[in-house]
């Protein structure tokens, strides 16, 4: 029941807002739908936590510890982002940067995007997952190009082509997987595509085929995760779209893609009995971390800056999943959570900052803290959190990941640390000069919505000090699910 609501609400929202998205109340409606989604997600979560796994519609949909927590996260961030986008879009509309049509598009696509992500998370059918992922891409392409500026068009185009191509590889990977599964599960019905069934028989699946399948899937979904060197669409898309979209792209879409990759990895590792997939993930992870860390030094645009930091963190997560094992998986899940919370809150703060300063170029943003302390501190705290300074939760996960890395991949630890140090200097130097100092910017017509920012940061802080036992068990369950042994 909750599940139906969960999926139907955003779709419905997409339709309605598609019709009336330009109305004055549209942003509030947007919030309303997101709220309903979030509540149903909570209900679903509590149910799964209470009664264990749950599968709907002839197993087409399947919810276990792993994806339910991502569902909850997605719904939550979706809600807060919609809260944030209320004043944001109003201000944009006042500045005349978006027309009524564009607002309609924005709101309906926003809901559609949520829907596709939720489907991608909850579906049990690899094919359907693919469809949903593609749909997620398509629904955001037009949001990236919302402003119709040359840069945004370019970004949108790159986003479209690179992700499109990538996702096609994923499709072929899915086909191969189906092909291998069919040998075992028989071609009638769709059971050969259902993850649960595949997972049950993963030991018998033909390794060679699955290996190839994994490569295609990795490259395909990896493109969406933004693993170097497939990451090139990411900074552009983040920088040029409206900030709420950057927030959800960074905070959610990447997670979802990562989720897909991990699901596949579980199957493949089960059949290959080799650590090759894991090592591939680690390789991608390290490469991303290092590349991103150095590219951070080239940034002038604040949103690009944080886009690259997203790449870096996705790299860390990929590395952790690649290492595998309960602790690493636990840490990776934790890191997914804290990263999406922190990063989205950062984008909220950045959104207001850019609107105040009227630019995204960092050299032109100064003295936020004097102009509006809340935004300034929000950005500062968020940045420190994302840089992995205690007492924020990011530190907790990075601590676990690093210590596990020392244990399992000692050679990789120095590389990681070096990259982290470089990234620290790069990001912090820039943010400090934005937050502190004298200011030039002006006040804004609409009060900034900072509840989301501090709600997120509060959660992250809490996770740094103390991870509630039930949450910990939940993570452990998920980690066990992924880690196999």
């Amino acid at each position: 029941m909750e599940f139906i609501v969960l999926l139907v609400t955003p779709l419905l929202g997409a339709l309605i807002l598609g019709a009336f998205g330009a109305r004055r109340w549209a942003p509030d409606a947007n919030v309303g739908f997101s709220l309903v989604t979030f509540l149903s997600a909570c209900a679903l979560t509590s149910r799964v936590v209470a009664h264990g796994n749950l599968s709907v519609a002839h197993e087409q949909f399947f919810i276990d510890a792993f994806n339910v927590f991502l569902v909850a996260l997605t719904a939550f961030v979706g809600l807060t982002t919609s809260l944030f986008s209320r004043p944001y879009m109003r201000i944009e509309a006042d500045h005349g940067r978006v027309s009524g049509g564009q607002q309609r598009l924005y709101h309906s696509m926003y809901q559609l995007f949520m829907a596709t992500m939720l489907i991608a998370l909850t579906t049990n059918n690899m094919g359907l997952m693919w469809v949903a992922m593609e749909a997620a891409t398509l629904s955001t392409v037009l949001l990236v190009t919302l402003y119709r500026t040359p840069a945004s068009l370019e970004a949108g185009w790159k986003y479209f082509i690179l992700c499109g191509v990538g996702i096609s590889q994923a499709l072929f990977g899915t086909i191969l997987m189906y092909f291998a599964a069919e040998k075992v599960l028989g071609s009638e019905g769709v059971s050969a595509l259902l993850w649960t069934h595949l997972n049950a028989v993963k030991g018998e699946l033909e390794p060679s085929v699955l290996g190839l399948a994994f490569v295609f899937l990795l490259v395909g979904y990896g493109t969406k995760v933004g693993l170097a060197p497939l990451h090139n669409w990411l900074p552009d898309a983040h920088a040029e779209g409206p900030t709420p979209i950057s927030a959800v792209l960074s905070g959610l879409l990447l997670n979802v893609a990562m989720y897909a990759v991990v699901r596949c990895k579980v199957l493949v590792e089960g059949s290959l009995h080799s650590s090759l997939p894991g090592r591939m993930l680690m390789g991608f992870g390290l490469l991303s971390v290092v590349l991103a860390a150095f590219l951070l030094w080239r940034q002038r645009d604040v949103k690009r800056l944080f886009a690259y930091s997203s790449i870096e963190h996705m790299g860390i997560i990929a590395f952790a999943f690649g290492m595998g094992g309960p602790v690493a998986n636990f840490a990776a899940l934790l890191h997914m959570t804290v990263h999406s919370l922190t990063k989205s809150s950062i984008f909220f703060a950045v959104g207001h900052a850019t609107q105040k300063a009227g630019t995204q170029i960092m050299d032109d943003i100064r003295g936020l803290i004097t102009l509006s302390p809340t935004v300034g501190w929000g950005l500062m705290m968020g940045t420190l959190a994302i840089l992995g300074t205690p007492p924020f939760g990011v530190f907790a996960s990075e601590f676990l990941i690093l210590t596990t890395a020392m244990k399992q991949q000692p050679w990789a630890t120095p590389i990681l640390l070096l990259a982290l140090g470089v990234a620290f200097a790069a990001i912090f130097g820039r943010v400090q000069s934005m937050v502190f100092g004298e200011t030039t910017a002006k006040r804004l017509p609409h009060p900034p919505a900072l509840i989301p920012v501090f709600a997120h940061l509060g959660l992250v802080l809490m996770l740094g000090f103390f991870i509630p036992p039930y949450l910990a068990d939940w993570y452990r369950a998920a980690a066990r699910l992924i880690g196999g042994e």
């Binding site: 690179l162 490259v219 060197p229 530190f395 601590f399 020392m406 502190f436 100092g437």
Partner: protein
Amino acid sequence: MVGVAGLLRPWSIGFVGRTLFPLGALIGAALAVVAAIALDHPAEQLILPIGLPDLPAHLRRDGLSSVFLLLLGAASAGISIFAAGYFRRGEGTSPGLICLQYHLFLASMGFVLLADDAYAFMLAWETMALSSYFLVTTQHRIPEIRRAGFLYLVMAHLGAIAILLCFGILQGGSWRFTFEAMRAAHLSADGATVAFCLALIGFGAKAGLVPLHVWLPEAHPAAPSPVSALMSGVMLEVALYGMIRVGFDLLGFPLWWWGLLPLSLGLFSALYGVVFAAVQTDMKRLLAYSSIENIGIMFTGLGLAMVFAGVGMRSIAALTLIAVMYHALNHAVMKSLLFLGTGAVLHATGERNLGHLGGLIHRMPWVAWLTLIGVLAIAGLPPLNGFVSEWLLLQSFLLAYQVPHPFINMLLPLGAALLALAAALAAYVMVKFYGVIFLGQPREKTLQQAHDAGVAERLGLGLLAFGCLLLGFFPSTIISMLSIVTQQLGLGGLPANNAPWWLFVPIPERQSSYAPLVFFAVILAVVALAIYGVRLFYHQRIRRGAAWDCGFGGLNSRMQDTAEGFGQPIRHLFQPLFAVVRHVPDPFDTKPTYRLEIYDRIWLGLYQPLDPLVRRVAGKVAWLQQGRIANYLLYSFVTLVVLLALML
């Protein structure tokens, strides 16, 4: 118990306002007392249900942490009272926020001292760095201060990374990150060595050990004075605590030659710091460099203690370690006192540049006389406290010839010579510091309006000055307290001796003794007698007149030595250490000016090049991203092909 006291501290953050500082001071004093009482109790543990799920936060109070808690509490008590008066005038961030950050800083330092597992330690450690960073950047409108803060935080972060790695090695395969596990772990010699070096880097970076010191002279002057006092007086000692904790507690008994690293680095820092202090023109920078010197002295002692412990001369190692901790206590008190003094001066005159100060002893007698105590103490003059620890350190240095390693035992006593040199230079620096600020004629007209510090500030200064005397006069008591720690660390305490309580004889068989009280009494007696005698036998007429000055007339304030002038001999003697830029006037200047800029060679040579280097690499990496979609597609294509090839 102390854990509870430590835990209580954050609560005081709750309500915002200036009234909190006295409360913080009270808690500080309470903490000091509790720590002093708890010192000889056995270690006690406390596990809090916070932190990571598998690793709840362990807190543990043993002798070592009590000593440093005592230090923290005592110093912070004085500083907080001072701060209560100091932050009256708003600067940069709002007082409430400062208050919060300030107490967070204190609390995190308390937790660092109590933490008993890697996670809790790192948590507290980084919180300490962060809160202090925010305090440093209180006046964030000034670019230099922003730069200083940035440098500070980056160095702190790198140090933290090193410490994290060190813990990663220390757990020695048990993969449990509590300190017990680390104590229990058996490391290979190499592993232990690496861990030790990492710890030295990590804690050295925080303590400002040369060459990791670059942030210190930038950050300490930038902060508001009470914060500078806390950073110099307490935070650096907390770093020292970390070093002792790792070196003597977690690593078990060190290899003897490890000691040579901190020993040599420490000696170098001591000389380097004091020499740079001598040429500074900014009073807070001067003090910052003098902090580097003192940290150098402490690390020297630490290294020496390690050498002794390594070769099995336990009791002497204990003596040396005691000297180190004693010096930590002293430095906490006297450096805080001096920084607060500068703070008062800064508030009264708005000047940090020595070139514009002078003659303040007339305008602000309280500050002047109280600061004088600190100056004499830090110059290492008997019978004040600074002398005692240096005396102890020299004593233990003189025992180093017994080290059973042929060449080393010849070199070690030389350390004593260098230490003596550093101490003498410190006196030079302090005479410059005090003389230029408080004595002579005011170098600016505005100084005439300078006013003495408020009551709260006087009280704070007074407390710390009193601490100097206390620590100076009762060495035997302090030592017996500190020897508890060394016993708990397994070094054994000091040999019992039957000397009377006022006589201080650390090593009976050597009969080297020191009795500050008698000493002081005699001086007092003589002075009193002299004054009395003069009054008795002769008149005491006094006439005030113009200064004689060999009959040169027209004396004005510009004829006194400037700070640069006073440092000139040192600059000449240690020329190679400095990178000096002179701005000499040409003969036809109507208003000739002569300016001198002195740079730190280490900064120029070691740190300056880093930034361009990283940028260059970044530039190389950026070549990958030329914005051409075809290339990007090519990347995906190649990746795909390569991975497929891997799979086949």
